[in-house]
Symmetry: D2
Subunit: 338 residues, 4 copies
C-alpha cells in the first residue's frame, strides 16, 4: 500500500469513496445507484465460515466506474478471524491455497521462476504485511540453480524481495520490480500488499487476489506507476489484505449516517435535502477542514493490529507455499485442498 | 497508552471528548462554554519555535471537569517537528532537558534511584514510544552498585523497564511498577507513554510532562489502575506524546464541522437546532454506528508515523539523560540549558 | 543467559569446561576421569529421532563436581533439527509437552498462576530465545481475573515477562522476578533462557528442563544471584537451549585435539607429556592470549542462527501452551501426548 | 558478508588465514615471511585516537598473495570505540566523512545518482550492519525527480536498497544490484557490508573503504559473484566493518600460540618442529575435527555486539550523509572536515 506515500488511490470516482477492494467498489455503486451495474459479473460461494466472491470487471466502462482495472478479483471473507480462531485460520489457509492453484497462471515447468514481491514498509505495523509474508515464504530458486538434491523435484523455482517504500529507497517499487524481472526472467510476479478498505468490518478479515496486478488510481495528481503486465512485462497477480481505512472515509460515513438518522426521524428535512444536494467539492472541503493538517495521509487501524497482521501474514505465506510447491501440497493433504 | 487495551480513557466528560492532554481539555471547556474556567491556572512562554504551557489543575472540581487529576501539566509544542527539522529537534531536546531539571522532584543524592518505565507495546508503531525511549536511556544503577569507577561521580542511579502491555504479560502494568518500587526503592518513577490527542495537529509535535502520574479516566467500565503516588508509593512523573487520535474524535468533529458549515451559510436551521439539541446518547449512537465493529478500539495515525516516533523518542531520551545526569549536562553545554 | 553480561558461569570446575548442560557436565567428568561418577543417576530413552535423558544430581558433592545445583535435569536431544525438518519439530513439540506435564510441579487448581519469565536480550540474536518464547505464549491471567467467559474453564492462569538484561534495566533479573512473585503470587515460575554448551553439535538441537531453577556458577568474581526457590520464594523450573559455545571452549578443544593427534601418531612425545602436565593456569594464559582483548566475553554461533532460534522458540512456546492449558491439550490430540 | 551463506571467503591463501581486511592480509604476509612485500604501498597517519591506513594493492601478483583485488584500501582504526566513547564516535564520523569526500569518485553533477546497497541479513545481529546503515541514510532521488523545492540545491541524488541475503531472496545480491544499476543508472554504487577480521581487536573498531568493490575469494567451491565494476557496470566502493572472526581463526591461533609458548620455554622441540612442518591439510583436518558439525559456518562475536553495531552504523551513515550532500556538510562545520 506504500502507506508512507499515500498515493495508491483506489477511489470509486463517482462517489469519491476510497477502497482497494473491487467487491466494495461494486457494492458502493450498486447501493448508491440502487440498480444492477453492467459490465461486472459476480459469483459467490460459502463454506465453513468463509465467503468466496469472484468479481469480474469485464468492460472498460465498468472499470472506470469502479476505479479498478479490468480483470478478475477473487475475495475471501472470514469475519470470524477477528476472534482469534486458529481452526478458522487453518481452514482459510487451505481454501486460499486451493483457490490460488486455480487462479494463478502458474507455468507448467517447475523450473520457471515465480517472483514474489512484498510491498510496503516493515517499520509501520499496518504496512508490514508484504515484508512479513516474504519472510515466511519457502524460497528455492538458488537451491534449484545450485542443483541442491532435495529441491530438484516437487518444488517450483521461487524468489522474493521486500524492497521497502519510496521514502526509504528513493526508487519507485515498480522500477525495482521491472529491473528484477529483466534480470531474473520470472514467468509470474506475485505482489503482496496492504490495502485500504471502505468498511471497517473488512479490516484483517478479507483477502483479495487480483489478476490485474497493482494499479494505483487515476485521480488528479497521482503519477505513481502500477505493477502490472504493462509495466513489468510479465503477468502480475496481486494479493492484498485491507489493514487500514482512510480517515476521510470515517468523516464521510459520519455525514452519511447523520443524514440517514435525520431522514429516519423525519427531522431536519432541509438538511437531508441540503446534504444530498451538497456538491462533491463542498463535502471535500468539510472533510479537509476536519482532517487538517494531515488530509489524505491519515489511516485508521484497530488497536490489536499487530496480532491481526501476524495471523493473516501466516495464512497467506502458508497458502502460497502450498499452492506453489507440489511437494508441500502433498504433505499437507488438508480436506479443503481437494 | 496501552493502545491494545483501550482503557486509559482521558475524556473531558462534559463534552465527551477524548484527550490525554490537560492543555486540550482546558481548551475544549473554554471554547465550548465560552467562559474562563475556574480552578485552572495557565502560563505560556514562547521561544524559538517552541511554545511552553504550564497548566495547573488546582481544584478537585476543575480536575473533574477536565478529566485530569489535580497537578501540574507542562506541555511543549513544536509544530515544526512535522517538517523533519533537526535543528528544531536539538533545540527542543535542550529546552525539555532544562524544563525537566526544574520540574522533576529529583533527590539531592545521586545514589537515590530513579526508575523509568516505558509503557506500551513495541510491536505496534504508535504505542512503541515508551519502549523506544527506554532503549535509548543511560542506565547506571548496576554500575553504581558494582562501584564502577567511571559512574561514581556525576551520574545519578537510574534503572528502567519496558514491561509490555497487559495482553502480553497478563499483569497490570501498575502491579509490575508497584512490585518493582518495593524491590528497588527508587525516590521517583518516570513513566513514558504514548497518548491520544483531540486535535490532529498535536500528533507527534507535543510533549506533556505531568506530576500527577498516569491516571486513567473514571468512566463506566474502566477499572484500570493508575500509576501514581497512591498506587506505587513514590512520586510519579508521566512524560507523554500524542501519537494517535481516536477515530470517534474524527466522527464527532465531522458532525460539528457540518453544523458550523450550515450555520455559516444559514442553511438547514432545523439541523443546527436539531444537532445542538441532540443528546449525548444520540451522538454516541451515531458515532457507534459509523465505527462498528470496532467502537472505541480504533486509532487514527499519520502515515509517516515511524519516523515521527523515532525522532521524538530520541528527543525525550536525550533530554532525560541530560536532566538526570549532571555529567551529561556539563558535557553538552547547549545554550538552551542555561 | 544474559549474554551481555557474561556471568552465568556454569563451569565444570575440575576441568575448567564451560557448559550449562548437566548432561554435558557429567559426560566430561566421566570421559576425563574414565570412571563412573557417584551421586548422579541417569536414565535415557529414545523415540523417533529424539533422545530423552534424565540426569539426577543427587548429592551436594556431585553438584559441586558438575558445577550444577542438585536436582533433576531433563534433556531432549534432536540432532535432526539442524536440517530444517518440520515433522521432527512437531514431534519434538509433542514430546516436550508430554514430558513437561510430568515434570512441572503444576498446581491442581487452574486459578493458581504460573509466571513465565523470558531471560535475555531481544537485540542479540543468540540471546533472544527467552523474549521470543514469551512473545508466542498464551497468557490468560488477566482474562481469568476479568472473568472472560472463554477462559474460565480449561485454561490455567498464566502470566509472563521478558524484562531484558542488566545492561538495559540496571536491575538484576532475579530482583525483578522476586518483586513480581511477591506481587502476583504465582505457584510456579518457569524461566526460559539461552544457554552455553560445550559441544558444538548440541547448539540449537537440545532442550534442557531443570527443576533447580537458574543457578549461576560459584566461581570467583561471580556475584550474580540465581533465580530459584531460595531467591524468589516459589519453585522455579528453567527451560534452556544452548545457542552459543564460548570461544574459550574452541581454544581449549583445539589444544586437546592437537595432543590427541600427536599421540595417535606417536609424534612429539614431549608435547603430549608437556600438555598433559600443563597446569590449569598455563592453559588459561594461553587461551587468554588468543582471545584478547575479549576474554570471556566472546561467543561462537552458527551463521544460520536466526532460523534456528525462531524454530526452537516455537517448539518451546507450543509445548508450554499445551502443557499448561488442558483445553489446548485436548484440541491437539497428537499421538506423542499420550 | 552474507554470513548466512559463508562464501565470501577473503582468505590469505599462502597462510590460509581468513580476513576481509587488506591491512591485515598484508600484516600477515609481512609477519610470516619476515620481509617487505613487493607490489603493496602503505601510508599511515594518526590523529586524535584514529589511525588512518591507505593500502594500495598495485600488482596482480600482490593481489593474489593477499587474496584482495588490486585497488586502494582505506582503513580507519579507532580501538577506543570499544569503550563507549561518544566524543571519539563524533571525531571518527568527521574524519570518515572527510576521507570519503577525497576517496569516493563522486560525479560533479548532483543530479547523477549514487546507489547505496546494504548487504547482509537484518535478522542476524552481526550481519545487520548494511541494512542498519541504509535505514539511517538521507535518500533524495525521488525528491529531486519530483522537483521537491527543498532538495534541488545542495543535495546529491541518492537511492538505497537492503535486499537481504540469498537464503531469503533466492537471488544473488550481485544480480539484484546489476538489475538496479541498469534501471536507475547511477554513476557510483556504494556497498555496505559486515566483514570478517583475523584479529579480535579489530572487531567493531575498524572501517575499511575499498575502491575495488566487493570481491569474494577465489578459493575452491566459491562461485559467488562479486559486486564490482566488472559485474555491475559502474564503479563500486565497498565500506565494511569487521563484526566477526571465523571460529577456525580461533582454532588456528590457538595452535600457533601453543607452539610459540613451547618455543619460548624451549619445551617440546619436537612439537615446534612438528607443528612448523605440519602440512596445511593436517592443520585443516585438526581444525575441522574441533569445529564439527559446523566447519566454516561458525562465527565468533563479542557479547556486546548489539550496541557495537548500532554505534558504528550511525558513524557510517552520518559520514555518508555528510560526504554525499554538500548542504549537510556546510551545516555541520566540524573541524575534522577541513
Amino acid at each position: 500500500m506504500s502507506l508512507a506515500e499515500g498515493q495508491r488511490e483506489g477511489y470509486v470516482p463517482e462517489f469519491n469513496v476510497r477502497t482497494d477492494l473491487a467487491l466494495e467498489a461494486r457494492e458502493i455503486v450498486q447501493e448508491r445507484t440502487a440498480e444492477e451495474m453492467p459490465g461486472v459479473a459476480v459469483e459467490q460461494t460459502r463454506e465453513d465460515g468463509v465467503t468466496i466472491h469472484l468479481v469480474k470487471v469485464e468492460t472498460r466502462e465498468a472499470a472506470q466506474r469502479l476505479g479498478k482495472a479490468p480483470g478478475n478479483y477473487l475475495t475471501l471473507e472470514a469475519p470470524g478471524l477477528r476472534q482469534k480462531d486458529t481452526d478458522l485460520q487453518d481452514r482459510l489457509t487451505d481454501i486460499l491455497a486451493r483457490e490460488l492453484i486455480k487462479f494463478l497462471p502458474l507455468p507448467d515447468k517447475l523450473e520457471e521462476s515465480v517472483l514474489i514481491v512484498g510491498l510496503g514498509n516493515w517499520n509501520v505495523t499496518p504496512d508490514a504485511l508484504g515484508p512479513k509474508v516474504v519472510g515466511d515464504l519457502l524460497v528455492t530458486r538458488h537451491l534449484k540453480l545450485m542443483k541442491h538434491q532435495a529441491f530438484q523435484e516437487g518444488y517450483r523455482s521461487t524468489c522474493a524481495l521486500a524492497p521497502g517504500v519510496l521514502g526509504i529507497t528513493g526508487i519507485e517499487t515498480s522500477e525495482i520490480v521491472r529491473a528484477l524481472v529483466q534480470q531474473v526472467k520470472p514467468s509470474l510476479v506475485i505482489a503482496i500488499d496492504a490495502l485500504a478498505a471502505h468498511r471497517l468490518e473488512r479490516l484483517h478479515t478479507t483477502i483479495q487476489v487480483a489478476d490485474a496486478g497493482v494499479n494505483p488510481g487515476s485521480g488528479v495528481g497521482n503519477n505513481r506507476v502500477g505493477i502490472n503486465k504493462e509495466t513489468v512485462g510479465v503477468p502480475v497477480v496481486a494479493i492484498g489484505v485491507p489493514t487500514v481505512v482512510e480517515a476521510s472515509t470515517i468523516a464521510g460515513d459520519t455525514m452519511d449516517a447523520l443524514v440517514q438518522a435525520f431522514k429516519k426521524q423525519s427531522r431536519a428535512p432541509e438538511l437531508v435535502i441540503g446534504m444530498e444536494g451538497q456538491s462533491w467539492e463542498e463535502r471535500q472541503m468539510l472533510v479537509k477542514s476536519v482532517l487538517e493538517p494531515f488530509v489524505g495521509r491519515l489511516m485508521v487501524t484497530p488497536k490489536e493490529i499487530d496480532t491481526f497482521i501476524d495471523d493473516i501474514s501466516l495464512v497467506i505465506a502458508a497458502a502460497l507455499n502450498t499452492a506453489l510447491h507440489p511437494k508441500v501440497r502433498s504433505s499437507e493433504g488438508g480436506k479443503y485442498l481437494q
